[in-house]
């Protein structure tokens, strides 16, 4: 299975000894993890543990100082963001990153960027080929919008929508890339209970009906325990534990990282 390349299906994501430094601060220190095809893998850890940095390395926003990231047959560490996107790696952001004045429809169509071809000339000249291409992809965009539950909002400018809906739009935009690997950076952060449950159901539905691998950063332990097939725990840039969720939950190192050392606890008790 290791490093195998499956053009139509999903592929294994292998992160090996990735290190990231920001001028003396080691944000990630030799972190390794493996995401099996079609599984949901959660990365958890206290604030500042390096979870978002890890995502930024995987999507090409940051360059790793050392280590390798392999997805299918490709090495991602030296690729620019748009080339990683072209391999079928999609992501959402912790803080919503949608152009607020564009409609939901246009935002989702941006997700089709890598699958479409119209350039300045064919778009400017209103060529029939460009129009046909847009119509074809719009049909798929509407399907995905319905799947994510935002079909009624396609014409609304994103900036006018409630926060929970914007989070869904971002997820839909990532799905519009037809990804093989989906990176979700805190998909339920800032949501209320009802919205959290709906988003969790949606992620389960994505896993089951689309069969893509999902890497998830999340603080909500209930969601993590419910969704994840495997968990990696980071603390101060280091991987301190990993494995099935129920095992990780009981790991003393993890409890220490979240709640402080046992001695501290006794002192405060």
């Amino acid at each position: 299975m290791t490093g195998s390349y499956q053009p139509d299906g999903t592929a294994t994501l292998e992160v090996r000894d990735v290190t990231v430094r920001f001028a003396g601060l080691t944000a990630l220190d030799a972190v390794s993890l493996t995401v099996e095809p079609g599984s949901v893998h959660a990365v958890i850890g206290p604030n500042g543990a390096g979870k978002s940095t890890c995502f930024n390395v995987l999507s090409g926003v940051y360059t790793a100082a050392a280590g390798s990231v392999r997805f299918g047959g490709a090495e991602l560490t030296r690729l620019s963001t748009h080339r990683i996107a072209a391999l079928g790696v999609a992501r959402t952001f912790q803080n919503i990153a949608l152009p607020p004045r564009l409609s939901v429809r246009d935002n989702l169509l941006l997700g089709r960027h890598r699958l479409t071809r119209a350039g300045f000339l064919s778009a400017g000249l209103h060529l029939p080929a460009a129009r046909r291409e847009a119509a074809r992809h719009l049909a798929r965009v509407e399907e995905i919008a319905a799947f994510v539950g935002i079909a009624g909002r396609l014409s609304a400018p994103v900036g006018l929508l409630p926060y929970g809906v914007q989070k869904r739009v971002e997820l839909a935009r990532a799905l519009c890339m037809e990804p093989r690997l989906l990176l979700l950076d805190e998909p339920v952060a800032g949501m209320n209970g009802g919205e959290r449950a709906e988003m969790a159901e949606l992620i389960v539905a994505i896993k089951e009906s689309l069969g893509i691998s999902i890497l998830l950063v999340e603080h909500d332990m209930g969601i993590v325990m419910r969704l994840a097939d495997a968990v990696t725990v980071l603390d101060f840039g280091r991987r301190i534990a990993g494995g099935p969720p129920e095992e990780v939950q009981r790991d003393p190192a993890v409890i220490r990282a979240y709640l402080g050392a046992a001695t501290d606890l006794e002192e405060h008790a």
Binding site: G60, V61, P99, L110, A118, A123
Partner: protein
């Protein structure tokens, strides 16, 4: 439907203008058309993609002077290729695009205000070349612009041409050419903005990292938009040269670049209509003030000391820029949209804009 009627009405009015208005207004209108073409170009770059350019005047100069060079007969120490004028105009636009392309390694790598500072250098480079590359540019005196000749029709005062009892001089003839070029320029830009490139450009402006992650090659797009905007500036330069009938080097300076930025800020950033509205505002105002300088308080006749009409116009639209930035984030176009929305909302509340029960943010 409503939009289509406005368009058709506007075009019909524009077609009849040369039959009724005198030369002064036609010239002001032609300047405005040329400005609108250039403004559409810089709005693609600055408004839609978020890349500031202070070098727009340089590319206007490239377009204007390249047209003259390609079209003029060699004369004395002045060089020229004596090509057919339509070909010269097309080549001039292409040369402006190439000039933009030569700058694109920088335009692709710098973002926002940093590009603005880098493009400032183009202004000084341009001024130096215009004054000193005499065989090409005619130096301080500039060069006479050969009239355009399209399908046997010469865009000049001779030979005489009378249509419906109206003598058609250079301005009347150019009016239709300018209108056609402006419409094509606007149509093309609208296609770009509404299509795949426009979505990518807007996302680069609002969330550069997100654009890259969604598969948009950010650097390549920035460079491409820069080239496209240079070509629009080149086309505006050719139009301007044809209307002026003479190229003057100091015209293509820093102030012209700032005028273009003022246009898109006042009219509305990121849209074709905003660029056109802003171009009308910024290039019509000085003409109006010149025309009525004797009737207006505080504005002196040009050359008589005191505040000249051109200076008064600059002060006025400087104030307009400040007012727009403070009170009208969408520019004049945004104001129009807001008024229209307010009117329609009174008739019927659009479902998507009403606060929904799940909005708690």
């Amino acid at each position: 439907m409503y939009k289509l009627l406005t368009w058709l009405g506007g075009i019909a009015v524009a077609l009849f203008v040369p039959f009724y208005l005198e030369g002064f207004w036609l010239q002001a209108g032609l300047f405005t058309m040329s400005a609108a073409i250039g403004a559409i170009g810089i709005n693609l770059l600055t408004g839609a993609t978020g890349q500031l350019s202070l070098g727009h005047a340089f590319f206007l100069a490239v377009g204007a002077y390249a047209y003259v060079y390609f079209a003029a007969e060699p004369e004395g120490h002045l060089a020229g290729l004596n090509l057919p004028t339509p070909l010269a105009a097309v080549l001039a636009v292409i040369v402006a695009g190439i000039a933009g392309g030569l700058f694109s390694p920088i335009a692709g790598r710098l973002k926002g205000a940093y590009l603005g500072i880098a493009t400032l250098a183009l202004i000084f480079l341009g001024q130096h070349l215009l004054f000193n590359a005499e065989p090409l540019t005619g130096g301080y005196n500039g060069r006479a612009v050969p009239p355009m000749e399209l399908f046997g029709l010469v865009f000049a005062d001779t030979p005489e041409l009378v249509i419906l009892n109206v003598p058609f001089g250079v301005l009347e003839r150019l009016w239709f050419l300018g209108l056609a070029v402006l419409l094509v320029a606007a149509w093309f830009a609208k296609g770009v903005l509404r299509g795949r490139p426009g979505r990518a450009m807007n996302t680069i402006r609002d969330h550069e990292i997100a654009a890259g992650v969604m598969g948009v090659p950010v650097g390549r797009y920035r460079a491409g938009v820069f080239v496209l905007s240079s070509m629009y500036a080149g086309a505006a330069g050719v139009m301007l040269a044809l209307v002026f009938q003479r190229t003057v080097p100091e015209y293509f300076g820093m102030l012209l670049s700032l005028d273009y930025l003022a246009m898109i800020v006042i009219g509305g950033l990121g849209s074709v209509a905003g660029a056109v509205v802003g171009a009308v505002f910024v290039s019509f105002l000085p003409q109006l003030l010149t025309r009525y300088s004797d009737a207006l308080p505080l504005v002196a006749e040009p050359g008589s000391g005191g505040v000249s009409p051109a200076e008064a116009a600059r002060i006025l639209y400087g104030a307009a820029v400040v007012a727009v930035v403070l009170f009208l984030p969408g520019g004049l176009l945004g104001l129009a949209t807001r008024i229209r929305l307010a009117v329609t909302r009174r008739v019927q509340l659009p479902a998507e804009l009403t606060p929904s029960p799940d909005s708690r943010s």
